[in-house]
Each structure stands twice: as structure tokens, then as C-alpha cells.
Amino acid sequence: MTVEEIRAHIDPIRHEFAEARSLILPALKFAQTEKGHLTREDLEAVGEATGFSAAYVESVASFYDRLYLRPTGERVVSVCVTLSCMLRGADELLEHVCEREGLPHDGGTSEDGRITVQEVQCLGYCDRAPCVQVDAEETRGPLSLDDADALLEELRSSPRPERLWR
């Protein structure tokens, strides 16, 4: 994404934000629509468009789970590991999902490029713990290990939906 494209996107909404740094998030979200993740060039372009250093932009991007600093698979499964979910078996759930997809224990992208698993901090779904979020859109829980198997089957067999960032 070029600086000009990002500027064209954020200039009309600039007035909505009291502080310039608040523009970084919409700019990053927009920059991500191109490839589904953010490259170093994107971070630099967002920095230039918003007036912040690329390093600062990266620190914002790395804070949010729905901004991806690496290429993702077609479907993204985010497993919440914060307290409520942890107490209800999130660690086992994460391990199970990763094992099934042949990934290291803290996630990654399956070899066929279909599924990305990541652990995330609180999804705000504590009453349905343990929970996962699919494609940063739909949150499901509580999930047993069998439910997780079924979910992965479903994701593998269903086409990629229009996502927020595409």
C-alpha cells in the first residue's frame, strides 16, 4: 500500500480523531486489506502518512491481535488464553488445535496454507469460556476438544468468506 493511498483513506476521517496517533489504527486496518497482513513497507507507509515513526507504528500493530505482521492462512483461528478461558481449559484447547494442524504449541500456519492458529489475549467472551474467534469476526464458545475438531473440519471445507480486511 502506498503512502498516497493511505493518505486518501485517512484524510476524510482525520477530523474524527482528537489525536493524530489515533489515525494509526484505521490506517493499519486499511493497509492490511491489500495482502491480508502488514509488511515492513506498509508500516513505513502508515508512519509517513500519519507522521509517526515506523517503529511506533509497529508497536501499535503488534499490540492488536487482528493486525497481522506475518502472512496468514486462509482462515484464522484465535484461541483466547486469558484467565477465564485458561481456567476452563484454553491451554489444552490450543495445544489440541495446534497438534491437529501440525503447528508448534504457540500457533502458526498449516503447511497447506489453509489454517492459521494464534493465541490471543482476552476476547471478552468469558461467560462462554474457553472460546475462539474465527477470522476476527465470529466468536464461538464454550468449545470442547470435539467442538474444536468439528470447527476445523468446517473451516477446511468452507470457502473463504469476505473478511473485514479484504
Binding site: S53, A55, Y56, Q121
Partner: protein
């Protein structure tokens, strides 16, 4: 580092409040931590650092009980209020502090025997003083691959980090290099740079001093010593003319580390150091250090004992004929004064000169009221005239940035683009037309205006110096000289001129030359000096490092460097400060002032004193500019020199019209480009070579592409440089970097560093 901000308990607007049962006062708006500390009550802190700007309350270490407020409050971010009742040691407050420390230590590895900060670690100290004494955590600690290099100078051990944000705030808010950030969140948060790039800047080492745990450590110092087997000495940096106050660490006779002082000098550097000041010490013991005296006899060089060399030097100097004495800008006030005394008492008729910019025409601006560097903070208008302060007088940049953050307007005027231009309005002057730019300058109204002016640029254009002096006078501005020479101001204060020896040598009138920390052949005007020195019969060099001059001197006597000698340096804006030796230096070397006193004894004119302190006292009594200064009273923070400014005697600069034909040459020195940076291996990775920078239009006109090699020729000499085309640099001038030893841009300049034009052609 400075943990608590100084509080003036006598200032107006005090509010009364209760602190641990005592009625006390502090100025309204003072943060509780500072007010408490001023009254002898220490509230433990980690993230709080008054020099980093407003508090962030990130570490929660300073929790205290404030009556009427629910829960504990962070004392670092709570201003004192009238009738506030504060308890810092109540059971509730203690419980909070215990809890924070227990939490911080949950993952901190406690590897004190391994960590370089062990023994100097606030976390360690505060755990002992304020901590719970035991922990409930039994789980294994986190482990990361360690350490990671944040740069070639700074390593980070991530598990030690307590996420106080000090380093990130320094990078973002003080140096404003914007390179360090906190990445990821929660338990995954780490200090990082953009996708792992090196943390490259001019002030990066300050984050090592700032880190309250051992997460950020100096790679050159890592594992070199333990706090209990080193000796620290407060001294002054001798790598640029700012006079930054430093603490030198010695172990086994060598300088092992340079850090900011625990109690910074707020009038000078405020505790921040440039990376040159912090890491250049490694060059002190470099391969070009002179370790043995040498006597050259009929072409043969004989290594000698120190005594023998001094005897030989006295013999050479005392055998009749006219003696010239050249004092280099690194010589201390005492060494300069002794050189003058040597000429007066032992070698009648000898000429003494300092090596530096003559500076005639600068009296008007120098006689305007002077400010200290610390005064820049409080200015509401800062005007920077000429120079490249961020590269040449590093710490000035941080002061100007701070003033700008506090609302000051910054105006820069000068021929070359530099880092401070982006802070405000930049007025680009044509080379040689600074006066016109200053006459036309429109400045906003300001109560507290400070003018920073470059010694070399204004000495080359005395009419601009006059214009600036008028401007400063009309506006009631105070001025700060951006000098180039480490102790140039100190030698000027002695009344030492800068042209006599060269002129006399040119005329063939000098028989024997004595140089003291002076290296004329490798500096500006090298070819001129080379020609003039060809007519000198014998040379005696008192020097710390080998140079073209020492390699052919009749007698060479190794002298102590600024790490190894006592004495006084006067910083560029006139602050006298004491050097304190931290090591003795090579065995067969001695401080320059000791060598000079020995020479005076040998020549039959012993001075009535034998210490640096007594020499300084004699200088202060004899030289009006130093009157009233007392060696002991200089203490560790120094004192302003009242009368140094207007003195620039015997100054007859070179022709004001640039010498030569072609493009005007505008030179600058890079912080990591000079000889000091080249000596220090630790700085090799940031070293900058010399280059010729041209506007692309100018490059096209001369047929020079980016990366081509060009030959520059002036009436004084020539050199070859790689070309960089940069649209930020204006057309109509050639910009080149001085200081790089092998590039030799100095050869293009006249000895007085006056204006010069250069012819440029493609090489090959």
C-alpha cells in the same frame, strides 16, 4: 542517575501538607515523590525519571496512602495539594510496595552474579530496602534467548526488563530518534526496534544509564568488571567542547566505562551523554597511543626514558635560536599557562600560539551576555546560526529539542542542512552571505531569546558576527558559542593568539618548535603548516597519540590524555571544569603540565609551584579572564568564566573573500567521523566516512553521479572523495566532511579555517 527532581523549598507558592505525620511544604504542582525526597523521605521508584517528561505511573512502585483517596496512589504522578495527608510507610503503603516488588521479581531472573548491573541495580537495592523479604512464587521463571543485541553497543536481556518504559520514553521523547518502542502486549511485551533493526542514534547509550535493572547493558563493558572492583571518578569529557560531566570507571589501570554522573550537571549536560562521549574511551589505549619517549638523532630513532627525553628536549629548546610554542586545543588551562611561562621565563623571545580559529571579529558577539547550556531549556526563542550542532556539539541538540518541547520557537540560519532544521523555521543562507540572511531575519517576539552561533562559520564572516551581535543586543538575547575546540575557550582566556608561530615559521624565523597536544600537519591548513615547518630546524612534541608530526619530531614525549591528567578545561560557552585522572596512563608518560614544569627546571627557570592546582591559581591571578576562579571551589560542577568571551587577541583572520575559484566549500564534522571515533573500536560500526555532498543539479553540471569519485582542489591542497547527491543540500556550494583521518578534507582549508572555494572534477 538522577532519580528525583530538585525541589526549591524556598520558592514562592508553597503548599502545606502532612507527610508521615509531619507538616511540610513544597511548591504547588510538585510531584509527591520529589516533595517527599526533598524532606528526606524516599518513596521507591522505577519508572519515574523527571528528565523524561511527565510521569507515566507505569511501574506502580511508588504507591503511597493518601487520606481520603480510595486505594493507594502513585506518588510519581500525584501533585501535592494543600492539607493533603500522605503516608509512605503505613502498613497499607508498605503492603502495596511489597506486592509490586514481589510481582516484579516473579519473572526477573535474579542473576546478579551474571548481570552487569548487579551491585548498581535499583531493583536489587529497593528489594532489600522496601521488598517483602520472601516470595510466594515457586513457578519456574521465563527464559528468553539472551542477550539480544539492540545495537552493536547495547545488549538487551529481555527477562530482566520490568517494562518501566524509561528507554522507550528517552528514545521517543528526549532524543526524539523514535526508534525504541515496546512491542507486543501483556506478557509478550519487549523493548524493540522496527523489525529488529539496529538502534542507531547519537545518544543511544543513555538508555543503559536509565535502565533501573540490568536489562540494557553496554556491550563494550559487559562482563569487564563488577561494581565492587572498579573505581569511579567524576571528570569532564574531552571529546567535544561541550564540557559534559562524566563519571569514569577504572579497573586494572584502564578506563573501562564512561557514564553520566549520578548527580548530573543541570547547567551543562543534564546527565545525558552523546555516544561519542560515552564510547570513545576505548581509543585511549588504541594502537596509535604513544607509550615510549623517542629521541631522533641523525635520522635514527632511539627509545628513551622519560627523564632522558625531557633532558633532550631541554637541550634542543635551550640551545639558542628562536623558539615557537604551539599549544593544541586539548591542552588544559594549566598546560597553556605553563607554555606561556616557559616562553616568558626560560626561553625569552619565544612565541606562543594556540592551534585554532583566530576569531578576530568575534569580540562583538562574544561580549554579549553568555548563557549556560542549561539555560536553553527555559528559552522561548532559540536561534541557531551556522554550524551543525547535533553532529559537532552533540548535547546541544538535546537541549534545543527540550526547549522546543516546552514551547520554544526554533529558528535556524545557515548554509548547510542539519538535524535541528526540522524543529522550526529554517533559513538557508548562501555560503558567505550569512550577514545578509541575519539582517533580513524576521523573528517572533520573545522574552527569553538565546542565540547559538558557530565559531568557525562566524569567524569566516566577521560581518555576520557583527550583524548577529547587533541582533542579540537589540533583542536582549543571551548567546552561546558553538565552538569546535575542546579547550579553545580556556586557551583564549589565557590571552593566547592563533597566528604568530605560523607567520614566523613561514618567514623562516622559527628555529625550534615545541608542540603541546598540537597536531598542525593533520589538521586544517596542514599543507601550509607542512611548508612552514619545513623551515624549522628541530621539533619537540609533547603528545598523546602518534601523528605525522610526532613521526618526524626530534624529541617526542608521551603525554597523558584527559582521562589521565589533572587540570581545567573551559567549555565552549565559558564554563571552567576540572579534569580528574582516573588512571595513570602508560608508564613512560606524564601529564603535559608535569613535563612543562620539568622542562622549566631543566632550563634554569623553575616555576614557584609544582601542582596543577597551584599552576591554575597562578594562571587565575595573572589572567584577568580567569580572575576569581578557585581550583578547589570549582568542585565537581565547575563555574562560569566571566571574562573569557571577548578575548581573542592577535586575531587577524585570513582574507574574507574566499580563496580560490569554483564552488564555495562548506565543511562539517560528523560525530562519529573524527579521529576520536576512529580510535575507538566500539564505534567502528557507526563510523562515517568523508563525502562530498552536492545538490543533484550541481552534480549534473559537474558530470558527477551519485557514488562517483571526485577530486577537490583548493589553493591550499587537494583530496579525493566519494560523491553523494542530495536534494536537501542547496546548489551553489560543495559540502564536505572534515575530521576523517584518511580523507584529508582539512588539506583544502587554510590554517585559520577561512572561506575557500574548490574546483571539482571526476576522478579517473
Amino acid at each position: 542517575m538522577a532519580d528525583y527532581a530538585p525541589v526549591d523549598l524556598t520558592a514562592e507558592g508553597q503548599v502545606e501538607f502532612e507527610l508521615n505525620g509531619r507538616k511540610v511544604t513544597a511548591p504547588a504542582g510538585t510531584m509527591l515523590v520529589d516533595a517527599a525526597f526533598a524532606h528526606g523521605v524516599e518513596v521507591p521508584i522505577f519508572c519515574y525519571e523527571p528528565r523524561l517528561g511527565p510521569p507515566v505511573g507505569a511501574c506502580r512502585m511508588c504507591l503511597v496512602e493518601v487520606e481520603g483517596m480510595r486505594g493507594l496512589q502513585t506518588a510519581c504522578s500525584t501533585p501535592v495539594q494543600p492539607d493533603m495527608v500522605v503516608r509512605t510507610t503505613s502498613e497499607l503503603a508498605k503492603d502495596g510496595q511489597d506486592g509490586v516488588l514481589e510481582f516484579l521479581l516473579e519473572n526477573h531472573p535474579l542473576d546478579c552474579p551474571v548481570c552487569d548491573k548487579g551491585g548498581e541495580c535499583p531493583l536489587q537495592d529497593r528489594t532489600f530496602r522496601f521488598g517483602p523479604g520472601k516470595t510466594r512464587f515457586v513457578e519456574p521463571k521465563r527464559h528468553f534467548p539472551k542477550p539480544l543485541d539492540l545495537s552493536s553497543l547495547i545488549a538487551i536481556d529481555r527477562e530482566r526488563c520490568i517494562q518501566c518504559w524509561r528507554c522507550v520514553r528517552f528514545s521517543q521523547d528526549v532524543a526524539e530518534d523514535k526508534l525504541l518502542v515496546m512491542e507486543d502486549r501483556g506478557a509478550g511485551s519487549v523493548v524493540a526496534t522496527l523489525t529488529g533493526d539496529q538502534y542507531v542514534g547519537r545518544f543511544t547509550g543513555n538508555v543503559i544509564d536509565l535502565c533501573p535493572v540490568g536489562a540494557l547493558t553496554s556491550i563494550p563493558y559487559r562482563f569487564r568488571a563488577r561494581p565492587w572492583d572498579i573505581r569511579n571518578t567524576p571528570s569532564v569529557c574531552g571529546h567535544c567542547p561541550c564540557g559534559c560531566n562524566v563519571e569514569l570507571t577504572e579497573r586494572e589501570g584502564a578506563v573501562q566505562r564512561v557514564t553520566g554522573r549520578p548527580d548530573p550537571n543541570y547547567a551543562v549536560e543534564e546527565g545525558w551523554l552523546s555516544d561519542l562521549c560515552r564510547f570513545a574511551y576505548a581509543g585511549n589505549d588504541g594502537p596509535d597511543r604513544l607509550r615510549a619517549p623517542a629521541i631522533r638523532d641523525e635520522g635514527r630513532v632511539k627509545e628513551a626514558q622519560l627523564d632522558e627525553a625531557v633532558d633532550a628536549a631541554a637541550l634542543v629548546l635551550g640551545r639558542g635560536g628562536k623558539v615557537g610554542i604551539l599549544v593544541g586545543p586539548r591542552a588544559t588551562v594549566e598546560e597553556g599557562f605553563l607554555a606561556q611561562e616557559l616562553a616568558r621565563a626560560a626561553l625569552p623571545g619565544a612565541l606562543v600560539q594556540r592551534l585554532g580559529i583566530p576569531g578576530a571579529g568575534l569580540e562583538a558577539i562574544r561580549s554579549q551576555p553568555a548563557a549556560q547550556l542549561g539555560d536553553i531549556d527555559g528559552a522561548d526563542l532559540v536561534v541557531v546560526v551556522g554550524g551543525d550542532p547535533g553532529e559537532q556539539q552533540g548535547i546541544v541538540e538535546l537541549r534545543v529539542r527540550k526547549a522546543r518541547r516546552r514551547g520554544a520557537t526554533v529558528v535556524t540560519v545557515g548554509p548547510r542542512p542539519h538535524g535541528l532544521e526540522g524543529l522550526g523555521t529554517a533559513v538557508r543562507s548562501e555560503p558567505g552571505r550569512l550577514a545578509a540572511a541575519l539582517e533580513a531575519l524576521e523573528l517572533p517576539a520573545a522574552e527569553r531569546m538565546i542565540v547559538l552561533w558557530d565559531e568557525a562559520d562566524l569567524a569566516a564572516e566577521p560581518d555576520a558576527a557583527g550583524a548577529l551581535a547587533r541582533l542579540a543586543g537589540e533583542r536582549g538575547a543571551r548567546q552561546i558559542e558553538l565552538g569546535l575546540d575542546v579547550n579553545g575557550a580556556g586557551l583564549r582566556a589565557l590571552g593566547m593568539g592563533a597566528t604568530e608561530v605560523l607567520d614566523a615559521a613561514r618567514r623562516g624565523e622559527i628555529d625550534t618548535l615545541l608542540t603541546i597536544h598540537a597536531d598542525p600537519l593533520d589538521g586544517p591548513g596542514g599543507p601550509e603548516w607542512g611548508w612552514a615547518l619545513g623551515r624549522v630546524r628541530a621539533r619537540v612534541a609533547i603528545a598523546s597519540f602518534a601523528s605525522t608530526l610526532t613521526e618526524s619530531s626530534t624529541v617526542t614525549i608521551p603525554a597523558s590524555t584527559h582521562y589521565e591528567t589533572e587540570g581545567v578545561y573551559v567549555s565552549m560557552n565559558g564554563r571552567a571544569q576540572r579534569l580528574r585522572p582516573v588512571t595513570a596512563g602508560p608508564e613512560a608518560s606524564a601529564p603535559g603540565w608535569e613535563i612543562l614544569i620539568a622542562l622549566m627546571h631543566r632550563l634554569g627557570a623553575p616555576p614557584p609551584y609544582r601542582t596543577a592546582a597551584a599552576t591554575f591559581a597562578a594562571a587565575a591571578a595573572a589572567r584577568p579572564a580567569l580572575a576569581g576562579l578557585d581550583y578547589d571551589a570549582l568542585g565537581v560542577l565547575g563555574a562560569p568564566v566571566a571574562g573569557v568571551a571577548p578575548v581573542s587577541p592577535n586575531g587577524v583572520n585570513g582574507p574574507r573573500e574566499p580563496a580560490g575559484t569554483g564552488l564555495p566549500l562548506v565543511t562539517t564534522t560528523r560525530m562519529f567521523g573524527g579521529a576520536d571515533a576512529y580510535r575507538a573500536e566500539a564505534l567502528a560500526w557507526v563510523r562515517t566516512g568523508a563525502e562530498l555532498v552536492l545538490n543533484p543539479a550541481e552534480g549534473a553540471r559537474l558530470g558527477l553521479a551519485d557514488g562517483a569519485r571526485a577530486r577537490l582542489r583548493s589553493p591550499f591542497g587537494e583530496c579525493a572523495l566519494p560523491v553523494r547527491l542530495d536534494p536537501a543540500h542547496p546548489a551553489g556550494a560543495a559540502f564536505a566532511t572534515t575530521g576523517v583521518p584518511e580523507a584529508g578534507v582539512e588539506r583544502l582549508l587554510p590554517a585559520d579555517r577561512g572561506p575557500v572555494r574548490v574546483e571539482i572534477e571526476v576522478v579517473g
